[in-house]
């Protein structure tokens, strides 16, 4: 039986359909769960927080939805070891909820994805993200090869990791830096970073390795037809590229 996954919709979420589609296409039993149905959340094996502008990005992206009653369920599930994946606005919410990097207390964030740099504007650019930890450091990446390179679209106005020097050091030393931005050939340098993110950070995991947050959207480059100049083998409608992250997520959910 496939694992059951909830794709959460807060007021202002806008990427629930494609996130749900890729979960389904990699074999998960996925449902879209709206804020008014929060009480249904405990029945799921895993959770995906998709992109958007939940609560209008008021105060700071993710700050208000981190206090939505839906997050009570997500925090409880995460603490019990269930898998939680946040993409873009979902990633921002997980940081604001204090679940990532998880070096502070719940709802007391020690780091945030905040206004892009050097220009504080929304940016929509194709990027690659590279696995910067040992795959098995995080359950959701365990099925990926070492140094896995995943295509995705950065599409955010607040994707720059910001934290104090002390907390940045914790992120690096604690193995929380799960993904960094990279060029298509895998090289890592500051020119590959679309938003001046600290450490070139594109994604974080927590200490236990059951929560993963990534800023760019692999689900928007997740089917063969999404790659305008890079056709892969198989049906034009088949999952490929960014789908590998969701395949790894599904593999972890199915393992005993």
């Amino acid at each position: 039986m496939s694992a059951r996954v909830a794709v959460l919709v807060f007021p202002g979420t806008n990427s629930e359909i494609e996130t749900w589609r890729i979960c389904r296409d990699v074999g998960l039993d996925a449902d879209i769960v709206h804020w008014s149905d929060a009480a249904m959340l405990p029945r799921y094996d895993g959770y995906v927080l998709p992109g958007g502008f939940a609560y209008e990005d008021r105060i700071r992206a993710g700050a208000v939805p981190a206090h939505d009653p839906m997050m009570d369920y997500v925090i409880e599930a995460a603490e019990s070891g269930k898998l939680v994946l946040g993409v873009c606005n979902g990633a921002q919410i997980l940081l604001e909820a204090g679940l990532l990097p998880g070096t502070g207390n719940v709802r007391r964030p020690t780091a945030a994805f905040t206004k892009n740099g050097p220009v504080p504007k929304f940016v929509c650019k194709h990027v690659h993200i590279k696995l910067a930890i040992e795959p098995q450091r995080c359950a959701i990446t365990a099925a990926l090869p070492r140094d896995a390179l995943i295509p995705a679209w950065a599409a955010h106005g607040e994707g720059r990791l910001a934290a104090s020097a002390e907390h940045l050091a914790e992120i690096e030393e604690g193995g929380h830096l799960a993904f960094v931005y990279a060029h298509a050939d895998g090289r890592v340098d500051s020119a590959a970073v679309p938003n001046a993110s600290a450490l070139g950070c594109a994604g974080l995991t927590n200490k236990s390795g059951n929560i993963l947050a990534i800023m760019p959207h692999p689900e928007r480059d997740a089917w063969n037809y999404n790659h305008p100049q890079r056709r892969e083998k198989g049906s034009i409608l088949a999952p490929s590229g960014g789908s590998r992250l969701f395949e790894a997520f599904a593999a972890a959910l199915k393992s005993p």
């Binding site: 202002g12 359909i17 494609e18 008014s36 992109g51 929304f122 106005g157 689900e219 928007r220 034009i236």
Partner: protein
């Protein structure tokens, strides 16, 4: 619209309602339609560019939504003044409008897949902010903007933001010449956008569609635009042959004490109106107000019953204990006809071009300057601000081809292409031919991605109709659109007119018939992008070069004005487009790009910039006219050599060096690319 061809085998619904519908194709036994609408938000954007441009997106999205459609894409044709001076109002407008489109479109989660931008001093006092939106709907699930048959007594349900005093007089404001002295007063006429609320209303409305379809209920649905509650409810009921009673006291308002006329015709954003059978009302209100909790999303927002459809064809407004209006409903909705005099079309303006080559201009300077010209330079600094990939359906995002392509039907290989066109440098010379080129360029752009054109929409942005010169330009442009659409056999299914784009001093904008074209691909796997794919391919022009440099970027750089625009041989263009479809079907085309601003040389350069890294091109043709003449066809990269004929001219080949070779001059591609990338990056850092 009565002067344009509006019928044909691809038309599912012509230009009768808020948007037209084109037959995309069939999937799983269902006929799918693409809804298309085109609007302007020019005046508001000149006054408060961020809010003006944002509400433009919001309005067009509602036009598509109210046909029962899922909103699947937007596009933005923009015309700004000269922005070189960082302190100028024009630059403030150009930046603010892009930020507004970005803020609104990104938040509602609809990909922005096409658009263009031109800069001309003629737009200094009147920018043009047009917006196009596409929707997807099954033919048997189209909802009409009319009270359905037998709906007397049904509920009129208002959905959305609490009515306030914003946008009072908005429609009237859009139809005056802008006067700087009244700038502050004009600001109050601009509506206030709320994309966050719109995001939730859209999702709630999709749920209502599902609910009504499940019960096979026919309802009426329309967005609130110009004329507010009164305009919308009167049109809904009158077009069904009914009247209406509306209780203004039942309208959810943001503040107390609004005058009845403000409630009735104010243009508060983010509102829609349903005509529902009474027994369904409670569930629909539940979806909006409880399931999607509108009142908690935005103060005062909700769905609420405000009146009822009446059998008698009168329009009655009640406020307090009083009837404040009681008139025959047709009085409110009947079209006003007026046909101002039109000057006969003069001979083509401008002198015929001399041969430019005789002047001995060196292309060494001209080529880089063409690439960095404001109308040729890379648009990436603008479109990078727009989310082009939300929904996960994008096949070709902006920057990869002449048209955007999406795959909107989950599980189907059907693709939708969208392009826009309308060159104001042409509009300044000859509105009649400029309109024809706008249609042709839009159709060519859709053909360049391998799609067949299904239909067109337009927004006609012109000056003061009371001025015979300005009105004549408008009338001549409409004739031009009709000529092109008839010859190319592509119908117009919707359109919009924006007049009074003139300052009080009488300066009108360059004639701006802006056209959008929707195309269909049966298999998205055959979509063609414009970047060169490999070294050693042959390059061809599909079309014919002309000695007509009127309106060309190179002519402007060489100090020439006027001059005839390129003429159009429609019979040959139809053959070209058929040949292109054949070559695409055979898989013979590796890349294609329509030749417009900057001519063949700029087109080839852009194909290098968009192509595989390390691949360059050699251009074998010469002469200013050949290299920089515009509007002449498409550049194609062929998989193998093609037999030449009268319409296929060999241009050169792709090479394995990152260079662009023109005649004897070798340019370094990365250097040219930098020149091409810088101008707009300075305006949009």
């Amino acid at each position: 619209m009565s002067k344009l061809p509006t019928d044909g085998p691809t038309v599912m619904q012509g230009p009768a309602e808020d948007a037209g519908i084109l037959h995309l194709g069939d999937f799983n036994g269902e006929r799918y339609g693409v809804v298309i609408a085109h609007e302007s938000h020019n005046h508001p954007s000149q006054v408060v560019p961020f809010e003006g441009a944002a509400t433009g997106v919001g309005g067009i999205v509602r036009d598509v939504l109210c046909m029962g459609a899922e909103v699947i894409a937007i596009a933005d044709p923009l015309r700004f003044g000269r922005v070189e001076d960082p302190q100028s109002h024009q630059r403030y407008v150009a930046q603010g409008a892009v930020d507004g489109i970005s803020a609104y479109g990104n938040a509602i989660g609809v990909p922005n897949i096409a658009g263009d931008v031109y800069f001309d001093a003629g737009f200094n006092e009147n920018c043009l902010v047009n917006v196009v939106a596409l929707g997807l709907v099954k033919e048997n699930e189209i909802i009409h903007s009319a009270a359905p048959a037998g709906s007397a007594g049904w509920d009129i349900v208002l959905v959305g933001k609490a009515t306030d005093a914003s946008g009072f007089g908005g429609a009237a404001f859009s139809s005056v010449a802008l006067d700087e002295a009244q700038a502050e007063a004009n600001k109050a006429a601009v509506q206030v956008p709320d994309p966050f609320l719109k995001n939730v209303i859209m999702r709630a409305t999709y749920r209502v569609f599902e609910y009504l379809r499940g019960r096979k209920i026919t309802a009426g649905f329309k967005d609130l635009g110009a004329g507010g509650i009164m305009g919308c409810t009167a049109e809904l009921c009158a077009s069904g042959g009914f009247g209406a009673i509306v209780d203004l006291d039942d309208v959810n308002t943001a503040v107390d004490g609004l005058l009845p006329e403000v409630i009735a015709v104010g243009e508060t954003q983010e509102r829609l109106c349903w005509i529902l059978p009474g027994e369904q009302t409670a569930e629909v209100l539940h979806i909006y107000n409880e399931e999607f909790s509108l009142p908690e999303i935005a103060r005062g927002a909700r769905a609420t019953v405000i009146g009822a459809v009446q059998p008698e064809k009168r329009y009655v407004l009640r406020h307090g204990a009083e009837v404040v209006m009681d008139v025959p409903i047709d009085l409110l909705t009947a079209a006003v006809r007026c046909e101002p005099p039109v000057r006969p079309m003069s001979e083509r303006k401008g002198e015929p071009s001399r041969r430019y080559i005789e002047d001995g201009h060196a292309i060494d300077d001209l080529f880089p300057n063409v690439l960095r010209h404001r109308d040729v330079a890379s648009r990436e600094p603008i479109y990078v601000r727009y989310d082009g990939v939300v929904r996960g359906t994008t096949v070709i995002p902006r920057g990869y081809a002449d048209a955007g392509v999406i795959a909107p039907i989950v599980g189907s290989t059907l693709g939708v292409a969208l392009s826009v066109a309308g060159n104001p440098r042409y509009g300044l010379i000859d509105s009649h031919l400029a309109a024809q080129h706008a249609v042709l360029d839009a159709v060519r752009k859709v053909a360049a991605v391998g799609a067949r054109a299904l239909g067109l929409t337009d927004c006609l942005n012109f000056g003061d109709p009371g001025d015979i010169e300005q009105y004549s330009e408008f009338a001549h442009a409409i004739e031009g659109l009709a000529i092109a659409a008839n010859h190319l056999r592509v119908p117009f299914v919707s359109g919009n007119v924006s007049l009074y784009n003139a300052s009080r001093r009488g300066h009108a904008v360059p004639a701006s018939p802006i056209v959008a074209c929707v195309g269909a691909l049966d298999d998205i796997a055959s979509a063609v992008t414009m970047g060169f794919k490999q070294a050693g391919s042959a390059l061809y022009l599909l079309g014919v070069m002309q000695n007509a440099m009127g309106g060309a970027v190179a002519a402007e750089l060489l100090g020439r004005t006027g001059g005839p625009l390129p003429s159009i041989d429609y019979a040959q263009v139809n053959v070209d487009l058929a040949m292109l479809r054949g070559l695409v079907a055979a898989g013979s085309i590796l890349a294609a790009h329509a030749v417009n601003d900057g001519g063949i040389a700029a087109a080839v350069a852009q194909m290098v910039f968009a192509g595989e890294s390390g691949i360059g091109a050699e251009i074998e043709i010469d002469g200013i006219e050949g290299l920089f003449g515009e509007g002449c066809g498409l550049v194609i990269e062929a998989k193998s050599d093609l037999a030449m004929n009268g319409r296929l001219t060999r241009l050169g080949r792709t090479i394995a060096d990152p260079e662009i070779v023109v005649g004897k001059t070798r340019f370094t591609a990365p250097d040219l690319r930098r020149l091409w990338s810088e101008p707009l990056a300075e305006v949009y850092p």
